[in-house]
Amino acid sequence: MSRLTVFTTRCALLGAMALSIVPFQSSRAAGVLTVAMTAGDLPVDTGNPDQGFEGFRFVGWNLYDALINWDLSSKDKPSDIKPGLASEWHIDPANSKRWIFTLRQGVKWHDGCDFTADDVMWNFARISDQKAPQFLTQQFALSRAYLTNYDGIEKIDDHTVAIKTKFVESLFPYDMAYVLMVSRCRAEALKLDWDAYAKAPSGTGPYRFASMTPHERMEFTPNKEYWDKARVPKQDRLIILPMPEAATRTAALLSGQVNFIEAPAPDAVPVLKKGGMQIVTNTYPHNWPYILNFTRGPFTNLKVRQAANYAINRDDVVDLVGGFAIPEYAEVPPTLPYYGHPVVYKFDKDKARALLKEAGCLPCKVTLAISTSGSGQMQSLPMNELVKQQLEDAGFVVNLDVMDWNALLDVSRSGVPKYPNVDGMNASRGLLDPVSAIIKPVASAYWSPAGSNWGHFKTPEADALVTQIFEEFDATKRMALLTKLHEYESEQALMIFVVHDLNPRALSPKVKGFIQSQNWFQDLTPISVDP
């Protein structure tokens, strides 16, 4: 045997020994929950996060609280808002545009300072007053959508504040469930250097910031002094990793590198199940519709909108995504309390064709803007191809205008004034609160680009109902009005309704105690991880 052969053989043996001696087991330490997110980057941690609701889910709600939080404790009922840093709130009996918030006492920031009314005042100035020294443009941008009706704040005493609104809105407290409070104490100690703050953020939330490697990982430890004792985290440590590629997330879970992944690809689910992983799903307030143009084109005609809804075979779409969706017959899922009894647009191709004929639009040419991927867009391309085929079977001629997510966001925000030739746009929607879910898409006050009524829908009935809802402070009566509005939008075939996502997640069998609430946000605190 030559010297070279002997050397090569030795190297190979040493390599094999090294590989067998040091198997990879990074997330197998006891009690460490390691999450692979779909986001391409770590969300910002200086208050309201970016990266959509995933940013809220894994950073925002873990580090911080809002005056009003979300109740994420049940998987069986839709989640609603609950007291957060405010233990109680009510409308001022003398002024329907003034809300009184009683602040929770005894709450401490992660840095040890006490939470007071001054902190709340300071936080609102940070995101709304351009002259305030703590004003931060990025946070202004990320919070502003929830401050549309905000008209100022006043301190009543150390534990009470009043927030004024521009117009009467009985649903205003929902907006306050998206505005996260950061520590004035920490920010001022760091001389309002927000880059320094990002490396040492301080909130009142159930997790404390531990460390961060930019773009790669963020680590948290439990806040053992959290004011809500039922939500003190049960893990030793929480690690979040941005992992935008679905196949990479799947491999990372199967190899033990992480133990919790968001949104596995449906075709990977059999492999994950075979590998012993838990697949969890639940309905949540999400829809995957086509939002329509009401200023010009075929969809200004109710019959065309109804035809498009009858043309969709939703069961086929559900099959395409591996069963991880439910058919969508109206804007919100049937689990929400204001679902009511909307029109059920059961698949009927002949009826769709007949309606198009009645409308004088056969064949009916439409242009639909779609994205290749994006937050909440599910399996965007195959789903859109299937819908196109179904619409064309019923007499439509569909031109799919394909763009990337960033470009579709521009279409979405600019609305029909900038994109008049787009007849419809496929954009998934977060329906967490009634205002976002069913009021903004129909109220003329929210016409794009000033709001999210993308296609400029406007009818006197819808505007009147919205006014009644905003002025009704009795919760039972308001729920009846919301139900009426939801049913009305269904009659109007406001969108082409397709499916509601079921939000699959895959968990290692060692992960215990996760309750998937019916919400975009999730509570990670009850999770424990077996060694």
Binding site: P23, T137, F140, A141, D195, H215, L241, T248, A252, D410
Partner: protein, 318 residues
């Protein structure tokens, strides 16, 4: 030689400026908006206008470019729109991570590709040539993101001997080449990354060697009685300027990072950063990364030119 170097450096400057202008223009020609990432879905027109003003995006594009260039000349690449971190930190951090991959990928790819090409070129038409050429074609043709996933399935999922993604157990900040628990994260991305350069270099070397072997001076060398080993040495030396040019391009490719490979392995390098910057239209990061990568390419070409001139003085005179 000194004058030649100065001339080449001066040629590089307009190339770098040209690249930055093209990149800046392309970003604005593409649909989308750099502020979409910091704005929520329900952002109003008023909010967008205020934020645009704060970030300076309400100014004319040429003015924005001029301001950016002026700051760059002073060493200030600006801040990322998405992360608010200085672009210099973002770009150099990611380039360092990509360089870590290149540090291993370059010698492996160059040595293997050159050896394969030289063997195939020396024995054209023989079984060895066919095997090597076939392997090179496979190397070039395999989509590297697919190969990456296959390697992950085999080594990370099935046998669990190597990690699937990332850069060490605690991320790049604590990465150490001297700890196997970290270094093992390099194996799969490096193997994936080397496949295409190996194929390209092997094919180029084979063609160059075969071409030089057919030249008259080789016949003369043999007629003078030189042994086959000495002839091959002369052939390889004469083929090397052509191979060097291709190696230079491949070095630039490896230093630039592969968007696909780095995304599949979630490797926080320049390709991964570029991908995020494109998706987010994060113009300062996009500009900074492309400028840095173009400078890497320009510097690589300069070094290759100098090496070529050293190997073949006729190039210097031309």
């Amino acid at each position: 030689m000194f004058g030649y170097i100065i001339r080449r450096i001066l040629f590089a400057l307009p190339i770098a400026i040209g690249v930055s202008i093209v990149c800046f223009s392309l970003v604005y020609l593409a649909p989308g908006d750099p502020l979409q990432t910091v704005l929520p879905p329900d952002a109003t027109a008023e909010t967008i206008a205020i934020v645009k003003h704060e970030y300076g995006f309400d100014r004319p594009v040429p003015v924005q470019y001029a301001i950016w260039l002026w700051h760059v000349v002073q060493g200030d690449f600006g801040r990322s729109i998405a992360s608010r971190r200085p672009v210099t930190l973002e770009v150099f951090g990611s380039l360092a991570n990509t360089a870590m991959l290149a540090l291993f990928a370059v010698p492996v790819a160059f040595a293997t590709g050159f050896a394969m090409g030289a063997i195939a070129g020396c024995y054209p038409g023989r079984i060895l040539d066919r095997i090597v050429t076939g392997a090179a074609v496979i190397g070039v043709s395999l989509p590297n993101y697919w190969l990456g996933l296959v390697l992950v399935i085999v080594f990370a999922v099935e046998y669990m001997v190597l990690p699937a993604s990332g850069m060490g157990k605690s991320g790049s900040a604590a990465f150490s080449l001297w700890r196997w628990s970290d270094a093992q994260f390099l194996v799969l991305p490096v193997v994936t990354l080397t496949m295409i350069p190996i194929g390209i270099i092997a094919r180029t070397t084979r063609a160059a060697v075969a071409e030089v072997r057919s030249q008259e001076f080789v016949t003369t060398l043999r007629a003078m009685g030189l042994g086959e080993g000495a002839v091959i040495r002369h052939v390889l030396k004469n083929a090397s300027p052509q191979v060097l040019a291709v190696m230079g391009l491949q070095f630039g490719y490896l230093m630039g990072g592969s968007i696909l490979v780095e995304t599949v392995f979630t490797w926080p390098g320049s390709g991964f950063l570029l991908n995020k910057a494109i998706i987010n239209r994060d113009i300062p990061v996009l500009q900074g990364t492309i400028l840095a990568l173009s400078l890497v390419f320009v510097a690589t070409n300069l070094v290759v030119d100098l090496l070529q001139a050293t190997l073949d003085p006729r190039i210097r005179r031309a």
